[in-house]
Each structure stands twice: as structure tokens, then as C-alpha cells.
Symmetry: C2
Subunit: 349 residues, 2 copies
DNA sequence: GACTGGCACTCGAAAGTCCGGAGTGCCAAG
DNA sequence: CTTGGCACTCCGGACTTTCGAGTGCCAGTC
């Protein structure tokens, strides 16, 4: 990585990088191929168009920009954006107005779900992109409370409340009518055995609980335990909230290529989880540009993501999806700011 | 209503209605204006194009069809679709394959949320439209259990479990550290006072509970009660699940007019609730065509909705949103079938 | 050697033109 | 009332033309 960067600097001098930066900024602003003339007009590069043309030729040679067709301006390639994000830009901090919007947006959230929903909305609004927020993962949280409720004589509802305020529910069907006394007993034992444990550890503790019951009741208890186990495992359910899909309409007109795949991906939460990737610390932003995405449909799309949660370890990931020709500095700033703010909110819990 | 229908029959004879039906069916299939010649070719109307032309002129006069421009075929107006839906079509029942898909789709749902999510997916899949499912409303369900959990010494989590299996959560901040004993006490009293009551009635019962506590504790109890009350009220949160947005890509190419407003509406759950309208019985389908929608952006869009829940009273509403030129008989059949099936699933609870 | 002005060339986008055909309305005859 | 005939309309597609932004290259200058 540092190696490649060195090579870049070796091959492309400072001014060529300036030119690339200018091209990216211009193209992001106008969405139109940018030519040498307009470039020197808009940015004061202090050289003539001819010189810029030479630089452009070099940049194209290196694969950072390309021409849609002969006799048209240049547009950045994915590699060009990559270089821009890595070396040529600094994350832009938010305007006071945006900061204010963030801090006022989340007040009055009634529960964790509400926090997540509001966050999605907020993120979509200030980035003007499609926002994705993963619900805090279970694995790192601990058991706060377990409730067992009889819905009908044969149907039980398990409710698991975690330290992060997340609530998981499971329905369990019994083979025969269940005894209320047994349920009360089970509720007590489960809570005393598991409360305060991390979900990962709780799984092992669960096994012991079963053994303390009379053989006659084992069947039912086993079913309940199995269901709880499922609720404990992270795989079971990685929930995700999505918002701002209407921003897709600003993608441009190549509907079939740009919009459809994104909409399809948004329905597939498994894909979204892959897109967001591993939760990083809120300090580190992950940017995936075009073909770097682990999903073929999104070659015209970039993802900006980061983790949120406590300082030391990330609880989950949030981010945005947008066209590769997005305004990276601003978007990255917004994503980072929102992640930090949500982390703070959750830390207060 | 019956009056208007009478008038229609009076003014337009049987064959003209046949022509209208043919036009609608053709236009839905091809999405292209349909002319007299193609009409007699495709449907065997037994008359000449010239005759059909006369009928078309009459239909246009009455406002059921229109010409995009002179020397083009006709397309149905909203009124035309209305007449078609009301008088000229019968709801189509599903193919065996689709029926099978429905019944297999919902097996293995782990909780109410899961049922709703799966339903949305299913509905979107078989109608190939955007599906909307409202979570069962609280008002008609009753209190199954109330749990009070201390998250931190000053932060409480209330969990309300209803008879429909829905779980509501609320976070309450206390002014000072709360006493565990008080919480336990409160938990017991709340449950004994409210369990089994309908949410609407429970609200009144709540008031009495407060009075049974020592004045010193009233502050906290009042805060909790207020939060519960909020959870009881229907207004508080009408949740909605949406799916199949990718189907919007089949809307045609007039992006700005057809797709954007729909995407925007999908983000606004308040609007969606209005679109779905009052929950009807699963027997009754509500169809809103174009301008009949209570939302200006959706003039090119129709909504097909119905209630689901027990036979006697609907719990909530589900439906689809699609272009006005949709296949109404099939769509209506699908919506009805899914609503019935979900009702059945929930009735087993 | 790097930069610049000049110049011929390319090629897409927009505008203009043309034409065929689907569709219409109207009318007179069956 | 229905129908065949007929003149008319007008959209859509194909084709052509024009315009201009942009390029690459080269020779000259600092």
C-alpha cells in the first residue's frame, strides 16, 4: 500500500496530482467529462491547457482517468477516485448547521429501534445518499433479562432483553399444554443463570440449566433453550435499516445500470451486511469504490462506512451507498460525524 | 354508486363495455396505446374496426379513455380503470404454484416481526409490485405482560407484550437512582392490574395504579405510567414494512414522474398509512386508482389494499402500490390471498 | 527539457428533414 | 346500426447536417 503510493509519487509529480484532484472535483460537481480548457479556467492551475493535456495523457496512461470517447473530456476511473480519497483529499468537517441538525435529530428517541431509525433518516438527509445502519450486534452485549410468557396454553413467547436495550423475541410451540408453574420456575432459573452474562458465554451456561429440570419437562425446556440459543447467535439475525432510497433518483438516467441493482441490493440485507463490512472503530472510515465492492451490481457505486459504538470496540456498522462520483470529502465527514454522535448517545446508556 | 353504475349501463351498451374491457386488458399487457384495428385483431369482438371506432369515440366522450395525441390509440383514464375494476373484471384466483408459494413462504417464522417481513417479501414477489404491510395495530389487542427492567440505576426499560405477540419498548429516565424493590413491586402491580385488558381499557386502569403508591414514589411511577400510556396509544407508533422497491424499475422510463414520488412516499410511513386507509375485512379489497389517492405524487399509481386479522375485525392493513396500468384482477387476487393466509396464521396464535 | 500556442482532426450531441404507417374522423352505402 | 372507403394527422425512427468542445501533435520559446 505505502509501496504503491510511493510509486505514484515517483511517477506522477505534484502538478499531475493537482490536475487529478481538479478533475475529480470538477467531475463530481458537474457530472460531465472535463476537458483541459475548462479545467484551467475553473481551477487556477497556473499552466496552459496544452500542459494540462500532457498531464492528462500521463494520468490516463497510469489508469487514473479515462475518456468516454475520443474528443471528449476525461472522467476519473475507480483507481482515480481511490487515489483521490487516499492521497488527495481531506475529510471535510461539517458545517455548523449540519452539526446542529445532528445533535437535535436524535433527541427524544424512545428506544434503540428509534435511535436506529432516526440515524438512518439523518444520515440519508445530510449525505443525500442512501443510508444503511446496522443494528447493534448481539455478540458483544450481555443478557439483561429473559421473559417467558404464555400466549396460548401451547404457545410461548420468549423475550430477550440485552444490555444495549435490544429486544429479541422468539415463539416456541410446545407439544402439549404447558404448566404455568414450570414456566415461572424456568423464568427464575434462566434469569439467575444468565443475567449479566455476555451472549457468547450465555450460550454455554444455557446447557447447564436444562439439566436441573425433571426429565418429564426436559422436552419443553430443550425446545426453549434451543430457541434462546438461536436468539443468542449473531448469525440468527443481523438486522439492518435502510433509508433515503429516494436519493437514488439523483443518480442520473441510466436507470437499468445505476438504480435497479442498488434497489435490489437494498432488499437483500445479507448483501448489505457484506457491503458494510467488518465494523471498524468510528475513527476509521472504510471506502469501497466501484469494482471494489463485493457485489457485482454495484460497479457504479461506492460505499462509505464506519463502525459505531464504544470507543474501544465497535458495536455495529453504518454507512451510505452512492454513485462513485460522489463528493467524498463531505460524505466521509458526514458519515464519521454521525457515527461519532450515535456512539456518544449509546455510550450514555 | 349503484346509481352511477346504472347510468353507465344506460349510456353504454354491452359491446361498448366489452371494448373498454379489451382496451384495458390490451393496454395493461402492452403498455402501448391501443387502436381499433389491433383491438379487433387481438380480441374477437365480432365487429369491424369502424364500429369499434365509434364505440371508442363514445367511451372517450364519457371520459373512460383518452388519446395521448391525435392519431394515436387510446389508453384508459383513471375512470376507465375504475369502471373496469368495479364492473368489468373478476378477481383472479391464484395459480396452484402461487398458492403453494404462499403456504410455504410463511412456515418457520420465528416471531411477529418475522411474519410481517416475510409477508412483505411474499407479496412483493407474487404481485411484482411494491408491497406494504402494516404491523398489527395495538388498539384491538390486549396486554399480555409488562416487564420493567433496570438498565442502569437511573434508566429503565419498559417492555410491553401484547396478545398479538407484538413487543413495544420504551426507555424511561428517572430523576434519581431507583429502588429495585420498588421496581419489583411496580412490575407486579402493573401486571395484575393490566394483564388481559385491551389496550384501550388498560389506559384508564393505569391511572388507578399510580394512586396505590407512596407519595414519595409518585414521581417515578407517573413517568413510567406516562410512557406506558404513550405505548398504548395507537398514534404513538404505526409501524410499517415495505418491500419490493426494485419492482419500481419496471414502471417505465419516466423516472421523475413515476418512480421518484413513490420512493419518497415509501419513506414517509405517515403517508403510507393514509394510502392503505382504514383496515377493512380481508373479504373487502380497497382499490385506489391514480388521482383517487390521498397523495398528490401518486397520480400515476394505484393502491390495492385490504385488512388482515381475524374474520370479524381487521388487525391491520396490507397492500401494494403499482402503476395505474397494472393487472388488477391478478393483483387483487394475490393481495386477497395473502391477506387471508396471514390472517389464518395469526388466528392460530 | 519543460511549457506553450497553433492547427488539423475527431466525434458526439443537437437540430433539422424526411417518410412511413398506425390511427383517426367522417361519410355514404348496405 | 354497421361497414368499407378515404383523406388527414402526426408520432417515431432513420438519416443528414452542423457545431463545438476536446484532442494529439508539432514546432517554437524560455
Amino acid at each position: 500500500m505505502a509501496d504503491a503510493a510511493e510509486r505514484v509519487v515517483a511517477v506522477l509529480d505534484e502538478r499531475k496530482l493537482d490536475v487529478l484532484r481538479a478533475i475529480v472535483e470538477d467531475y463530481v460537481a458537474t457530472h460531465e467529462p472535463v476537458g483541459s480548457k475548462t479545467l484551467v479556467d475553473r481551477h487556477n492551475l497556473g499552466v496552459s491547457p496544452a500542459t494540462v493535456r500532457n498531464d492528462m495523457a500521463a494520468l490516463e496512461e497510469e489508469g487514473y482517468i479515462t475518456q468516454p470517447h475520443t474528443s471528449a473530456g476525461r472522467i476519473p476511473t475507480d483507481a482515480g477516485y481511490r487515489l483521490f480519497v487516499d492521497k488527495l483529499s481531506t475529510v471535510k468537517s461539517l458545517s455548523p448547521a449540519e452539526k446542529k441538525a445532528i445533535s437535535s435529530f436524535l433527541v427524544g428517541a424512545v428506544d434503540l429501534d428509534d435511535v436506529v431509525r432516526r440515524t438512518v433518516r439523518l444520515l440519508a438527509q445530510i449525505t443525500r445518499q442512501v443510508a444503511i445502519v446496522q443494528y447493534p450486534t448481539l455478540s458483544r452485549s450481555s443478557v439483561r433479562h429473559i421473559e417467558v410468557v404464555t400466549m396460548t396454553p401451547r404457545r410461548l413467547l420468549l423475550v430477550l432483553i440485552t444490555s444495549t436495550g435490544r429486544v429479541e423475541q422468539r415463539i416456541v410451540e410446545a407439544q402439549e399444554d404447558v404448566d404455568e408453574q414450570l414456566i415461572a420456575d424456568l423464568r427464575t432459573r434462566l434469569n439467575s443463570a444468565l443475567t449479566g452474562q455476555r451472549l457468547t458465554d450465555a450460550a454455554t451456561s444455557l446447557a447447564n440449566v436444562t439439566d436441573t429440570f425433571a426429565p418429564a419437562d426436559r422436552n419443553l425446556v430443550a425446545a426453549i433453550v434451543a430457541s434462546l440459543l438461536e436468539a443468542f447467535t449473531v448469525e440468527g439475525e443481523q438486522r439492518i435499516a435502510v433509508g433515503g432510497a429516494a436519493n437514488l433518483t439523483r443518480y442520473g438516467d441510466d436507470f437499468e445500470r445505476n438504480v435497479k441493482p442498488v434497489l435490489e441490493a437494498l432488499e437483500e440485507h445479507v448483501i448489505l451486511l457484506k457491503l458494510l463490512g467488518e465494523a471498524t472503530s468510528p475513527q476509521t472510515l472504510t471506502v469501497r469504490i466501484g469494482h471494489e465492492n463485493p457485489y457485482e451490481g454495484l460497479v457504479t457505486t461506492s460505499v462509505v462506512a464506519t463502525g459505531y459504538g464504544s470507543k474501544s470496540e465497535a458495536l455495529a456498522t453504518l454507512g451510505i451507498v452512492g454513485p462513485t462520483h460522489m463528493d467524498y470529502p463531505s460524505t466521509m465527514g458526514a458519515v464519521r460525524a454521525v457515527a461519532r454522535y450515535v456512539s456518544q448517545i449509546l455510550a450514555d446508556s
